[in-house]
Each structure stands twice: as structure tokens, then as C-alpha cells.
Symmetry: D2
Subunit: 329 residues, 4 copies
């Protein structure tokens, strides 16, 4: 099973970044085509998630396809950029109905691009939808707008999947889709079959969740449509290389996926601000492969038996041994 | 409206405490009767939430009633002690079915006490239900047990309300009912009308929630059955005196309640480890009264109008002025 | 005393921002001259802290002076931009000695600008000096480089003051000057009289410090050379408007300054991403003026007497009353 | 070198605990003698740190020695219980000078016990010294009392070492010795050779420190007199089993010790509330032994060379491979 595991990455993994201090960027700007060509150098990458509009120039879908083809990559999802200046006060929840409409149009265009690429989903990351200050918003109205925005898209495009990637915060001080439970609550309210979750391991950690628990919950609701991994120090979305800080919780996350026969792509959502992008991706995928081998040798029945007793030390000893001994093989 | 506002407190506010360091306690042990007599000294307290079994001695319900009567107090809820030694590995989710049964019996007894006192609800605070380590539990099974435990009680006692008080953690490293959204998700799954939330302001802060948003969400689901307040530094359930650290978010919380015509008791859940209990309660209630006066003078239409634009500074200026100018009146 | 209080702001308060998501910025780009002209619209602002090089164009010191003069502003400090692309792996601690040299040159130029403007200090904010991953750096060598970098500048420019603004993190995952204590430890090691701290209220909160305690400590070492204020939710440097989240801790911070007869400028370090800059500054300064009036009426002897008993509730009741009753006067 | 490594534990590792909820305790109470006999069952434990007074009964030093002898254990340090009820408002910093004197007497007695056992140090953990609320204390006076208290003891007992174990908080909301830097700042002010730090890995994590950096700093000041390990989720002092959450940072911590030829005991400070004490200690020591083997095979020169370039991924790849491949050997 591991041998067939496919790996993916957000194409931004291979871009350069700005922040509020290094306004001149952590490296020369790159176009989406540059980024795809760099992604092609990663040892074992099959799919990418693409921002839309395509960054760095005026590229057609055909241009992008050509670049993907020459690098042996296909598209898993499209991420509409619903968090840029125009949407700085929100996309689905913007106080200006004209901006909400524009967000709808942008995402509808992105849905078209999903169809063109034969991708799996439109990824919604409403990072500007939320609030910063006490008293700033009418919380009931804001949440209703969040759900109406997603619901309208999902009902207008029943042939496509929409995945919501929740995060506690950043860039807003508080994001409306802040946690796995809040997102599931919203999805159940929307009540459509084509809305699910893209579960980011690091966002779950950041939110104080146990990512394995978050995965199980989303699976139990039939809503785990995608996932990506990275690492952080729990208090921010650092988007570090997967496995460098929390190897055991990452292994538990993969354990939960396999136990439930969840067979999707294992994706990276990393921001290597100061690292080489290719090295960062290879490092993470090496870890993921070790985790896969670890699952192959892990005694699932023994883990289950320990968990049935809530026997933490027996269970974690099995996990440590299986994971660590698979590293470097 | 403010003039009729009733105030309450968990009776443990007037007890003394132990922790893992001061194992000899922060003061002489007190019985529930002692605590009630101290509660009676607070200037404006109408109701209390009582732990069950009654602590500090072998007291009958009649003994407790007598003490309450002489202090002009009545009972709002009963909190079964489902977090003591017997339940250290969980009450609803204990791996031992015998312990789960014992938890059920204890809470069933507590339901009887609710009836005896004519109280409003059984309060469930499953502080030992959760996990500590990666790989320790089967997350799907644990959550199912959580819901089954609550659901069975609610269906067996349709004449009573059951309120779940969620908290991110402590004493478990991770509690199963960890957030407003997770709890609502569970309540919707249980699907019974007599299960709701007791929203603790400090638990919401601790969980990275905006308490006003949590309240609005619970109200929108028709599940805000009770609330209590206190304060903390966001990273732990410090149970400090309400209003001493986050006055504006507390005011926004009360604003949300009034806006929705939520008319329950304003309760305290404070642990004055090193303070005088009566002074701590009076200090908090003075703040709550100021908040009530602040709501009387707040221009709700102007706040709403600012919120409709997401105009943070206009909204918070209105709030600051209304709250602060009501202090000390 | 309050009536003579001067107020200041970092000039970036009046710029627009980018981050890793809104790469097209939260508003049209502004030059330093634009920003100064906007700063001039604030009701009661006397001084600004200027980034160097001057942003947004090729401006001379004379150009900047002209703009300052027409807005009635003077310069309190110069902040060399030692955190842009060139310095993304550190300024003082960059692994490349050539980059360390270039940082030295940039800051030396900034020192010249301080002299030209007759400003108070060079402000060092080494935001890229630190690390991201376990095992990334030799911690002893990194810290030595931090101190050598500051020490060399201070000894070469004995006529000027250098202030270090510490922060726990961002943009690095961990900054080398991370806390008040670490910074004082470094300053004592450097051993020169012209190195001090610029204490940012929000950075102290973010680091789990009590800002009043941080101020007292820096004062006791004779090293509190400057300060600025803002607000946040403790887990990130949100740079929100001062007084909107933590009014009481901000008041305690000012209380500590006055008690020690610290008479410097009260500065703002706010990033109003989505707010009007002038409104944000006015809102904060209104709060600061209320805090000043609150100090005028606070009974310092009574506070001291309560503090001598560690009597939290008496002390905070005095503070709440003095601060809140001064609001809106 | 590894083969001679000695392992130790705080004797409380083998006690049972209470907290504010499970007031009847996580298991039957144990005496210090019980705890020593349980400690004796751990596979490879050489030394223990003992609380003083001896808990659970009226035991003489001779009684304790007998128990230690029959279990092949010796004493590394004595921890006076300066955090029980009498000291709930502080030991060194208590507002009552009589209580400060009593703390001094208790610690002086503990110093005598150190001499009797030929132990290495008196361990000071002033967990009740600090504050809870804004405005509660005079921060300058509180810090001065902290240093005077330690300084007096160190000068009166020049033949003994005193180690301070800092922690950000708990049971106080803020502890006066809160971080490695603050503690070093205090120790430098005291200016005596026999005061040092006992560095708890988990306390450093909890405080947002990188424990390897904390260790290097304390070593560079000649003040790393002792250490202990455990694990947590960074936001609280969970005292979990070492290596279960943060294996790589723990390995970096040991790397720093070995690189500096620091050759002390590797101690455990774990609180196995719901686990078997012996299993918890064995599990941790197995991890520590794997870490020791990992250090034996780690290419220190290659790590240093990567660190000289701040090359995170090369350095961490070396570390992951060395540590993980040593696990289960």
C-alpha cells in the first residue's frame, strides 16, 4: 500500500514569500511556471495544488498545463486567492455585498479551472474572514455569511467538491472557520454532500487539537476530503518541514488515516522562507515514507488493545519503535 | 431589566482548595455547610450550584436546605463529582465499563437531588474524560462513549435539563468536550432537547474562542442553558475574579446575551485560592452590575451599525465609553 | 505632569502593509512622506520613529525634515531596516561575515541620521536574528554574535544611545533578544552605558511577561531608554490599538513608569492593517490621556499599602476606579 | 561515556498526587519510604531528589537511609517544601516577615539534610513566589526579596550548592524566577559562586525557550548545576514521560550537554498521574539511553559545520538519523 502512496504539495511551497518586515521578499519573485519547474525537481511528487489566478504573470491554463506535463505533475486542487487586498475585510463575510459577489465570481472561475484540469476540488481558505477586535462584528451575521457563501457555491456546482481549510487565525486575529468542529458544524448546517474539510495537520496543532482526533472526527462525518502536513511550535502556523518537531503526533495522524482506509494524497503545506524548496520537500517526503514503512510494521491490533485500556505507555512504545526503526531504512 | 438581574456562584467559590504542591490546602478544609454560610455573606447572591456528593461531611439534603434557607439562597444546579479518584481515567469514557456504570449511577443520583431542590439542571463537567498522550486512545470510540453517556442520561430523565460545561483541558491534557463547537456537534448528534451548554467565559477564552461568538453560536442552536464568568490569562483556567483582566470581552459577552434576550442567572466560577471568598465575589458582582448599567446606556443601534461595517474602532469606542463610565456609579 | 506628556509613533503606523497572503498589500503603497503627512493629522502627536532607509522613494534627510516640519513633528529615533531580504538569515548573527559587515554599515549610517535629526537613539530590532528549527544553530555562537554586533556599534558611537527592542518571535520562529531578562543579561555583558531597552508593551505580553514587572526590572538596571504600546491577544504580536484588550495591565505599566519618575515619550507601535491610521492613533492616544488622568487621581500610597500586603483585590479596585472613571472625561 | 551515565528522579515521581478536582488523590497516599521502595524497582536508577520534610509520616534520616540503601539509591538533592499552605503567598517574598523567616529556617534545615546525605545541593523551587493579578505586587520589592532570600542562604552555607529551578507559572499565575535569563540575571546580582540553576527541560519548553539554548546560556555563565527532563505540550507543565512529544528537542538538549562536556546526572521530573510509576520511569530512561547511543554515533563535526551555515535541514537530518536509528537497539 505504501508503495502506491502519492505525494503532493501546494505550489506556493516553491514560491518565495514576503511578510510585513521583509517587504522585499525572501528571495527573487517567482512565477507559477518557475515554481512548477522547481517542484519538478522534487524526488517523488505527483500532484500540486495551484493558486488561482496564476501568480507572477499572465499565464493561460494551457501554459500551466505545459509546465506541469514537462514535470510529470498533475493538479489536485485549485485555491482561489480570496485573501488578497480586495478581500482584506473578508470574502464570504465582507461587509460590502459587492465584494462578496466578487469573491463568488472569483471562486466560480476557480471552479472552472478545476474542471479544466480534472482536479479533485476547489479549496477554500477564507483567511480574511473573521475579526480582530472585541465588538467588531455581529457574530451571528458573520457566521451566517460564511455558510451562505460556501453553500451557494456548492449548490451551484454540484459536480465539484469544495474543501474548507480551517485555521485558528492569521491573517485575521480570529478566523471564522477556526477549528475542525466549527467547520463540521457549518458543513452539517449547509447540508450538501460536496462540501468537506481539507485538514491541515499544523492548523490542528495550532488550534490545540490532537490532529489524529480531528482526522477521526472528520472521517466519522464523511467529510475528510483532503489533507496536508507540515510542522510548527503549536502557537503559530509556522509551516515548517513535516516531522521536524512533532514526529509522533504526525505518525498518529497517518495511523488514523490508514486505520480508516483513507486513501488520499499526502500533501505538503510548507513555507520554506529561508530553506531550499526542493530540499525541504524531499526532507518531508523522506519522513512521510518512513512513516509509511512504520505503519507497515506497526502492530495495529496491539495498539488497539492498548488503546482499549487507555494504556498510553504501551501504545506509544509500539508507535515509537515502529516509526523510529523505519527511519533511514 | 438590570435591577432584576440575579447573581449566582458555584459553591466551591467558598471552599478551600488543594493542588499538587500545596497538598495541605490553601486554608482549613470547609464543609458545604460552611461554604453556604460564607456565601450568605456576599452582598447580592441569589443562587448556588452545589457539588454532589456534598463535601466535607455526611450531610442530608435537608441539612443543606436549612443552611441555604438561613442564607436566602436557592439552588440553580447540581454538579456531580465525576472527576474524583474513581473517575481518574474518565467517567463517560472510562475504559472500565463498571466505572462508566458507576458514573451513570452517580449522575442519576444527582438528578434526583436536582428534583429535590427544584433546581434548573444537572451540570456535567467531565474533566477526566479525554487523553494525555499521543496514541493513548481510540478517538472515535472515546467520543462515542462521551455522547452515549450524556445521551443515556438525557433520555432517561426527560424532565430535567443536562448542561455540559466544556473546557480545553485540565485535569486531562485534552478534554473530550473541549470547545463550544465540539460540544454543539455532540449535542446535535445526541439529538435530545434537554441537553445544552453551560458556557464558562474563561473556558472560552482559554480555548482561543471569542466568548461573545461562542455565546451567539450556542444561542443560535438553542442550547445556551447556563453560563458563568471569571477571568484568566488565556493560557490556563485561572478562575480569577471576573473583570480584572478582560473587561471589554466580558462586556461583549453580556452584550451578546442581552441582544438575544437571554435572561438567565449571571454566575461566578472563581477559585480565590489566596483571596477572601466574600471579597472576591463582591468584587466580581460589582463589576457585573457596572456591566449591566453599561448595557443600559449603550447605544445598541449604533453598535450594530458599526458592526454592519466591521468598523472595529467605532464599535469599541462605544463599548469602552458605556462600560467604563458605568464603573463606580 | 500629564498635561506635558508627549506622544509619539513609529512612522510605519501610517504606512500600509503586506503579509504572506495579501501580497498586494493592505492598501496602496505609501512613501515615508505620505506617512508623515498622515501622521500630521493625528490630534496630539509630537514625535515619530523613522525607518531607515526612508521607504517608498529616494528621499533625502532634507526632504524628510521638510515634511516633518510642516506637520509639527520631530524625530525620536531611527530604526535601521536590518530585517529585509539581505538580512533574512540574520543581521548581527548572519552566518555570512559579509552580511554582518553590511548590517554594521547600515546601522552606522542610521547613527548618522540620528545625529542629523538630533534624535534620541538608534533603535535595533533584530527580527531576523534567531532560529527556526531544532539543531539549526550553535546557540553559544549565535548569542555571542548578537552581543558583539551591538557592542561594536555602541563603542564606536559613544555619543549616541542604542536601544534594543526585544520580542519573542516573528519573523524568526525564535528571536535571540527574546525577553526583557535576556536582553538585560546581554546588555550587562556588553557593559556599555549607551545600550538600553525599548520596551514594547505588546512584546512583553506576548512573551508571558507582566509588562509592569518588565518595566520595573529595566528601570532598576538603569536601562529603560524608551517604550511603546499597543495591544494583542498574548499569543502573537498583533499590534492592535492600545487599550482595547488589556486596559488594566496597560494602566499598571504606566503606573510603574510614573512611580519611578520615568519621563519619556509615550509611543505607539500599532499596525492598523484594516483600520484608518489616524483614527487608530487618536483612539489610542485618547486612551493614554485617560490613563494619565487616572494616574493623577490614583491614590499611590493606598496602592502601595495594598501591594505591601499582596492584597490583589484592594489594589485592583483602586486601579479600576481611577482608570475607568477617567475615561470619557 | 554513555555507559557510565547515571540516571535519577525526583522521589515524587513515585508518589501519588492530588489536584483541585481529584481531591481524594490519584491513588492511595504513599509515604516517602513506599516511594523509595517503588523507585528501587526501576531498571537503572542511581539517585533521587528528596522532598523535605519527608512525606507521609514521621521518618528520621536514618529510616530514609535504610530504605535507600536496600534499593541501591543515593541522594542527589533535597527539595524543601517551600510551597505548602504556610507559604501560599510566597516563601522568600511572603508579605509577612515571619513567614519569610520560617522559610529560611526550613531551607536551613534542608541544608543540614543535604550534609547528612552527602548530597549535591539544596534545590529551591519557589513555586508560590510571584503574583496572580495586575497591580497585586510591588515588582521591584518582590524581586529584591527573591534575591535576598536566596543570597542569605547561599552566604550562610558556603559549603553547599543551591540550585534554583525556574518555571513560568503554577501554582502562581506568574512565578518570580520565571525563565533561564531572569534566573541568571538574579544569580549574577547575588554574586555568589554556590548558586546555580537546575534546568528542567519541560519548564524551558513551557516558557517558550529552546531548551538547548537555555542549557548553553546557563553553561556559559558557569551556572548549570543540575537538570531534569520530562515532556509537555508547551502550554503547561504537564510533566509527561520524556521523549513522548518532543524527541528532537530533547536530543538537542543532550547534544548541548555533551558538546560542553557537562557530565551530571540525567534526572526525571515526571508526574505519572494515571500511569504506573515504574513503567513511566523505565520508558523515559529507555529513551534517554537511546539518546545517549544517538550521541555516540552523531557526527558532531558535521552538525557543527551545518550550524555554522545555519543550515537547518542538514543539521536536523543528521540528528534525526542518529537518534531514531538508536531507538530499539
Amino acid at each position: 500500500m505504501t508503495s502506491q502512496q502519492r505525494y503532493g504539495a501546494g505550489i506556493w511551497h516553491f514560491a518565495t514569500y514576503v511578510d510585513r518586515y521583509a517587504t522585499d521578499g525572501y528571495g527573487e519573485p517567482r512565477t507559477v511556471i518557475d515554481a512548477i519547474d522547481i517542484a519538478g525537481k522534487v524526488d517523488d511528487l505527483s500532484v500540486v495544488d495551484l493558486n488561482y489566478p496564476f501568480f507572477g504573470g499572465d499565464f493561460s491554463t494551457a501554459d500551466v498545463k505545459t509546465a506541469l506535463d514537462r514535470n510529470g505533475l498533475s493538479v489536485i486542487g485549485i485555491t482561489p486567492e480570496m485573501y488578497t487586498r480586495e478581500f482584506m475585510k473578508g470574502a464570504f463575510t465582507n461587509p460590502d455585498p459587492g465584494v462578496r459577489r466578487r469573491a463568488h465570481e472569483l471562486i466560480t472561475e476557480a471552479a472552472g479551472v478545476v474542471r479544466e484540469f480534472g482536479a479533485d476540488y476547489v479549496k477554500l481558505w477564507p483567511g480574511q474572514d473573521g475579526w480582530d477586535y472585541p465588538f467588531q462584528v455581529d457574530h451571528g451575521a458573520l457566521w451566517k455569511n460564511s455558510l451562505d457563501g460556501v453553500g451557494q457555491l456548492a449548490s451551484e456546482n454540484p459536480d465539484l467538491k469544495f474543501v474548507i481549510e480551517y485555521k485558528p487565525r492569521e491573517p485575521r486575529v480570529h478566523m471564522s472557520f477556526d477549528s475542525v468542529s466549527r467547520t463540521l458544524l457549518g458543513i452539517e448546517k449547509i447540508g450538501l454532500p460536496n462540501v468537506g474539510i481539507l485538514l491541515d495537520f499544523g492548523h490542528a496543532l495550532f488550534g490545540g487539537e490532537s490532529p489524529a482526533d480531528s482526522a477521526q472526527l472528520a472521517i466519522d462525518y464523511g467529510r475528510l476530503f483532503g489533507m496536508d502536513v507540515n510542522d510548527n511550535f503549536r502557537s503559530w502556523d509556522d509551516d515548517l518541514v513535516a516531522g521536524t518537531v512533532h514526529p509522533l503526533e504526525l505518525f498518529e495522524f497517518f495511523y488514523t488515516l490508514r486505520k480508516n482506509n483513507w486513501e488520499g494524497v499526502w500533501q505538503l503545506d510548507q513555507f520554506p522562507f529561508r530553506e531550499d524548496s526542493v530540499q525541504a520537500a524531499n526532507h518531508a517526503i523522506d519522513f512521510l515514507k518512513a512513516a509509511g514503512r512504520g505503519l507497515d510494521k506497526l502492530d495495529f491490533a496491539a495498539v488497539q488493545e492498548a488503546q482499549d485500556r487507555h494504556d498510553s505507555l504501551t501504545a506509544i512504545a509500539l508507535a515509537q519503535k515502529a516509526l523510529f526503526s523505519s527511519f533511514g531504512e
